[in-house]
């Protein structure tokens, strides 16, 4: 199987098993010839930061008196970076983790930390495989391994969130709200 096919299959599997969500596709869209290593740099940074945060959480929860505010702050960081790279499973576990922090439940936090650890290392392993294939694909394909890093089949092609041009052309930037959630402020309500 060629590197491009391997990469496509791996990424498709990560979407299918709920490890990744469409935010990862947003990252892929940001990669271009001027930043050919963007996705791998972000993924590497995420893995590095994630490992550091999990280590800090383990230390904090190992203390006889747990500082839940500090624990929550670290979980918030991991949740934020997970959401930004599309790490769906890790993000969702962090949401549960924060609830236990607010309840000041040490047992709940410890159990969720273990789940976070499992989900994070599962994702990290797949990311590492992805980067290895990417490097091989990059050498073989002369710098265009991105061909393999798209959604599989036509499902992704029809998703309007993947194609900003369609969103823009549908009237999203002339004052009408173009955010896809209820909490962002529409352009028409900007001050001044």
């Amino acid at each position: 199987m060629s590197a491009a096919n391997q990469l496509a299959a791996l990424i498709a599997n990560m979407f299918a098993t709920g490890l990744l969500d469409d935010q990862f596709q947003q990252l892929q869209m940001l990669q271009d010839p001027s930043a050919p290593n963007f996705v791998s740099e972000v993924v590497t940074l995420f893995c590095h930061d994630g490992e550091r945060i999990i280590g800090e959480l383990a230390k904090l929860l190992d203390k006889p008196t747990v500082d839940f505010d500090r624990v929550d702050a670290f979980v918030h960081q991991l949740k934020g970076s997970s959401a930004s790279v599309g790490a769906l499973k890790v993000k969702n576990t962090c949401i549960q983790f924060r609830e236990f922090c607010q309840q000041k439940s040490k047992d709940g936090c410890l159990k969720t930390l273990e789940t976070v650890r499992i989900n994070f290392y599962e994702l990290r392993g797949k990311f590492q495989t992805m980067l290895q294939i990417f490097q091989v694909g990059g050498d073989v394909r002369g710098g265009h391994p991105q061909l393999a890093m798209g959604p599989v089949g036509d499902a992704g092609a029809s998703d309007p969130r993947l194609f900003p041009q369609e969103v823009i052309q549908s009237g999203g930037i002339d004052g009408a709200a173009c955010w896809d959630d209820a909490y962002s402020t529409p352009l028409s309500e900007w001050r001044n």
């Binding site: 972000v42 599989v152 993947l162 823009i168 909490y183 900007w190």
Partner: protein, 183 residues
């Protein structure tokens, strides 16, 4: 006879499976190629529209990113560079306020909410209190409660994380057009 049928069915099943796999794989590759072509068209469209808008204005929009989470900061900075912005990043609200105290000016500020030393809303309130009323301030947070905190502090708009590229482009177009109108 039964054995021969079983063998034939098994072989047929194997051939059919290979055929289906090949068809699925071909469709997958076709989808990936179409996706890549669309990505390239989107990339050129975004670059040209912001480039034309900022060329009319005479200079690239100056953006300040206030974000402590490195991954989020790298992604936002990359998006802004992609949209031809001059972008500066700091790690907390105090560093942002210090830049304004030094006399630095920006067209737009993207601030996270929860940061060490000084939070986003606190920094926004201080920046507005300094008299920096022209700069557009965008509060950014994954917490839904962040909207109220930022708007009360004086932000112009709130967006939830993760921020989308088309969202940024829309905001920058508003900033650029206001700059063009004010000369």
């Amino acid at each position: 006879m039964a054995d021969s049928h079983a063998t034939d069915r098994s072989e047929y099943s194997s051939i059919a499976t290979r055929h289906i796999y090949t068809r699925v794989r071909t469709q997958a590759l076709k989808g990936a190629v179409e996706y890549q072509e669309r990505r390239i068209r989107v990339h050129h469209h975004l670059k040209s529209s912001i480039f034309m808008a900022s060329r009319n204005q005479g200079s690239a929009p100056r953006a300040l990113v206030v974000e402590d989470i490195k991954v989020d900061c790298v992604i936002l900075m990359h998006m802004l560079h992609k949209l031809n912005c001059e972008a500066t990043a700091v790690e907390n609200g105090k560093e942002a306020v210090d830049l304004f105290l030094e006399g630095k000016t920006f067209d737009i500020v993207f601030s996270d909410k929860d940061m060490p030393i000084m939070s986003g809303p606190e920094a926004v309130a201080k920046i507005r209190a300094m008299g920096a009323t022209e700069v557009k301030i965008v509060g950014v947070s994954a917490d839904f409660g962040g909207r109220e905190a930022f708007m009360q502090a004086g932000a112009d708009v709130f967006v939830s994380k993760p921020v989308k590229l088309e969202t940024l482009e829309s905001m920058l177009k508003v900033v650029i057009s206001k700059k063009n109108m004010s000369g």
